[in-house]
Amino acid sequence: MKKLLELRSEIDKCVRCGTCRSTCPTFKVIGRETSCARGRVTLVAEYMNGGVGLSETFLKHLKECTLCGACRSKCPNGVDTVAIFAAARRDVTEKQGVPFAASIIFKNLLASGGIMSLGLKLATRLQGLFFRDASAGVGLLSRFSLPLVGSGRLVPPLAPTSFLDLPEVKSAEGKADKKDGPSVAFYAGCGINYLMPEVGLKSLEAVRRAGASVSVPQGQACCGMPAYAMGDIATARSMALKNLEVFEAADADFIVTSCATCGHGLKSLMASLLADSPELKARAEKIAAKTRDISELLIKELGFKAKGRVAERRVVTYHDPCHLGRAQGLREEPRELLKMGPGVVLKEMKNPCLCCGLGGGLMYNNYELSMEIAAKKAENIKKSGAEFVATACPGCIVQLRDGLHRSGVDVKVCHVVELLSEEKP
């Protein structure tokens, strides 16, 4: 991953045309130049020139970004804004250290013997205490929530048994059987592991239905995206290294994930984090080449076709996760998969690619702003008239549930794979 000093020419590529003012989700809410990419790039340049230091104002504006990449995708000059902001955060973190709460969580997510550490296991048992009301917000997971944030917040309960600890998942450890079609190793990621194991199980089921054999390697770690977003590159790198080893050992034809962010993490972040060693980078690129999003695997690789059963009509709208649509270029595949669900009628919302507001650690850095962005999303979802909003990222699911709940919009949120079967998610 490039350091800030190596990005000087990237920063100079910004000609300050202002196009990013029309795409940035935080600018849509805050409406000031300091909250769009052009302003942030200028601030970072000024920071590098020594014009501004590590002031509260500078850090506030730097951390307000969701790293959604909308500015980058529309930038006429192709400025890699996400790389600039991530490198600036890294620079800051190297000088200031990782925020205390985040550092504890990252350590847990990295802990040996799986994503799950003793601390988190305890928390699962104790969650009755912690979750007495929604205001406690004991998120122990960096992407989803962190201790003691504002009140009235809808906090997802931790699963009683995490995905990787489920007996049927544990039994799927080891190499997939290559005799029956292609072999697929499933990467759960924190969201599925701790919060929504059912999405993991539905994913395994779909892969099997599509004629592949699937394994779930134990020992897999967090993909590193949350640590990366917070600028804790050392931790993110350790996570990448661990996953590299675990998935090399799995030796499958494909690695599949049902989390957009993790998919992006494995496909591009891993190699970038390990780029300091040409050997590791080359190995990471092999892993990246095997990695697929669940919809990409099912549609493009396995030619999955769900049987067209007559069922109750479900009007569904789809939210494009930034890390799937923009980062991986996968917009059609999840929609195609979605339309295979029994009774599903897809009804597009306005601006389905607008960030949900969770990304880039914004939920941690500035929960109120994150929710204001989610409120915009909730409005578009409501106007679509759909009964369900489907997406392909557990992070977005958590955020959309919270945002819809806050806006009083009664639309159910689910993962695309959950609509592949008839039972209601």
């Binding site: 300050r16 052009r38 504006h61």
Partner: protein, 474 residues
């Protein structure tokens, strides 16, 4: 002018509220630039929400002697919103309301911070149309469009911002709040201050409300593409289309360099040819077919190699996204450019194109041209690398040549960007000393202390300027 004092800062806070006044370097640096990419720090940024607040700021500026610079989105191409002499930037980022859309009288009333695109979307939902569409319309503001008299591709048929401003509420540099113009179709009471404010680059007053004319939304639009083996042939086709009495709603020309740069960015599938015309016709559905056939015939007659009608909303959207991104994407060939927006009478576009080719060859600089050929407005981008003194000097010389050529063809040196700081030194090439003096007297009568957006339009006394006067008579 002097830096603002602490007592001024406190007073500004009192006027707009602490949340709406910024003095930290972190905030100031983000209000130091526009799309010319030149930076000059202000001393403060305020975010007012009423004309009264702006009036107080201007009164204070007169008594304390600091500059005031109005700013919309900071997307201008001439330095209009850059605080070149420091002072207080008045940002319109909080005055973003569409106050009224009057469907009976076809009028919209808006605050200046409204993004042009947002207004267009809102009126189009009601079957109405606000035509001015500068390439920045997805982020530029109505206030900024008024200050610079923004144009856009549709100007060929629908005119520019000036043609849609019926009336204004503005704060004069001395602090008085005035209303100008009408909300009726006609009006000749007194001098036309409305038109005077439009295009005055924020030097005569600060617009706080605008009454805009709307049209019925055209029933349908067709988008066509025609490619040409030579720029001059495309240019001749443009003149012929106008002569053929078809007025397209847009008639854009794009040269090879521009096509290549923007294709690299947009992956639209643009052809790799010497020149392309992007043509739109709009109006009642049944007349469009005929217009398309006329345009096609003219293009083919003038060497148009490939002609086709764009299919579906997606393709049209992509084509326009690409077209609007040309200007910024040109930096892919060279790190610096001088971006001019000259206009010539439409019949003289072929001569202009030929002349640009000669200048490029003679000066040894790359010139990328594209733009609103239909109204004679060509964006001429002289590309260079400022790290090379020789290239920079050649580029400067080429620009002067371009202006000399333009003026000899009865053209003007700026169609829609304004003078700002970027074209000051060429002002005397187009305007006579007497005309400039008259303008300065107007400025002085509105703004005796020269506090509103100083350093714009008129070159400072003693500044190095290009040789005066070669404009062909009107």
């Amino acid at each position: 002018m002097k830096m603002i004092s602490n007592s001024v800062k406190n007073e500004l806070i009192r006027v707009v509220g602490a949340k709406n006044a910024s003095f930290s370097r972190e905030e100031l640096v983000c209000y130091a630039y526009d799309a010319t990419n030149k930076l000059s720090l202000p001393d403060a940024v305020v975010f007012p929400s009423t004309p009264e607040e702006i009036s107080l700021v201007l009164k204070m500026a007169n008594s304390e002697g600091f500059p005031v610079i109005p700013r919309g989105a900071g997307s201008g191409f001439s330095g209009g919103s850059v605080p070149v002499e420091g002072g207080v930037v008045v940002s319109f980022e909080r005055m973003t309301k569409i106050l009224e859309i009057d469907t009976e009288n076809l009028v919209a009333v808006v605050e200046p911070g409204v993004v042009t695109w947002d207004l267009q979307q809102s009126v189009e939902r009601l079957g109405l149309f606000y035509p001015p569409d500068p390439s920045s319309h997805r982020f530029s503001t109505i206030g900024g469009n008024i200050a610079e008299c923004a144009g856009g591709p549709r100007a060929v048929k629908y005119g520019v911002t000036r043609d849609y401003v019926l009336g204004l509420e503005a704060v004069l540099p001395t602090g008085e709040i005035v209303t100008t113009g009408v909300r009726t179709a006609k009006g000749v009471v007194g001098y036309d201050l409305t038109k005077l404010f439009v295009g005055s680059e924020g030097t005569l007053g600060i617009v706080t409300k605008a009454v805009l004319k709307l049209l019925p939304l055209p029933e349908a639009t067709k988008t066509m593409l025609a490619t040409f083996p030579k720029m001059t042939e495309a240019a001749k086709a443009v003149s012929a289309i106008i002569r053929g009495k078809v007025i397209p709603s847009t008639l854009e020309i794009i040269d090879r360099v521009s096509l290549r740069c923007v294709e690299e960015y947009s992956k639209t599938g643009l052809p790799d040819v010497e020149a392309m015309l992007l043509i739109e016709v709009d109006g009642p559905k049944d007349s469009l077919e005929r217009d398309c056939r006329t345009v096609e015939a003219i293009c083919r007659e003038h060497g148009g190699a490939d002609f086709r009608v764009a299919e579906g909303k997606e393709e049209v959207k992509k084509l326009w996204e690409a077209r609007r991104s040309i200007s910024a994407s040109l930096y892919r060939v060279k790190p610096n450019k001088i971006n001019e927006d000259i206009v010539v009478p439409r019949s003289r576009i072929p001569e202009l194109v030929e002349g640009l080719g000669k200048i490029s060859a003679a000066r040894g600089v790359l010139i990328a041209s594209f733009g609103h050929a239909g109204d004679g407005n060509i964006h001429v981008n002289v590309m260079y690398d400022k790290k090379s003194a020789a290239e920079a000097a050649a580029a400067e010389a080429a620009v002067t040549d371009v202006f000399t050529l333009t003026l000899s063809l009865s053209g003007t040196i700026s169609g829609e960007h304004g003078v700002g700081t970027a074209k000051q030194k060429y002002l005397e090439m187009e305007l006579s000393p007497a005309a400039i003096e008259a303008m300065k007297r107007i400025k002085a009568s509105f703004d005796p202390k020269g506090i509103l957006n100083p350093g714009k339009i008129f070159p400072k006394a003693g500044a190095k300027t290009a040789a005066a006067g070669t404009k062909a008579p009107l």
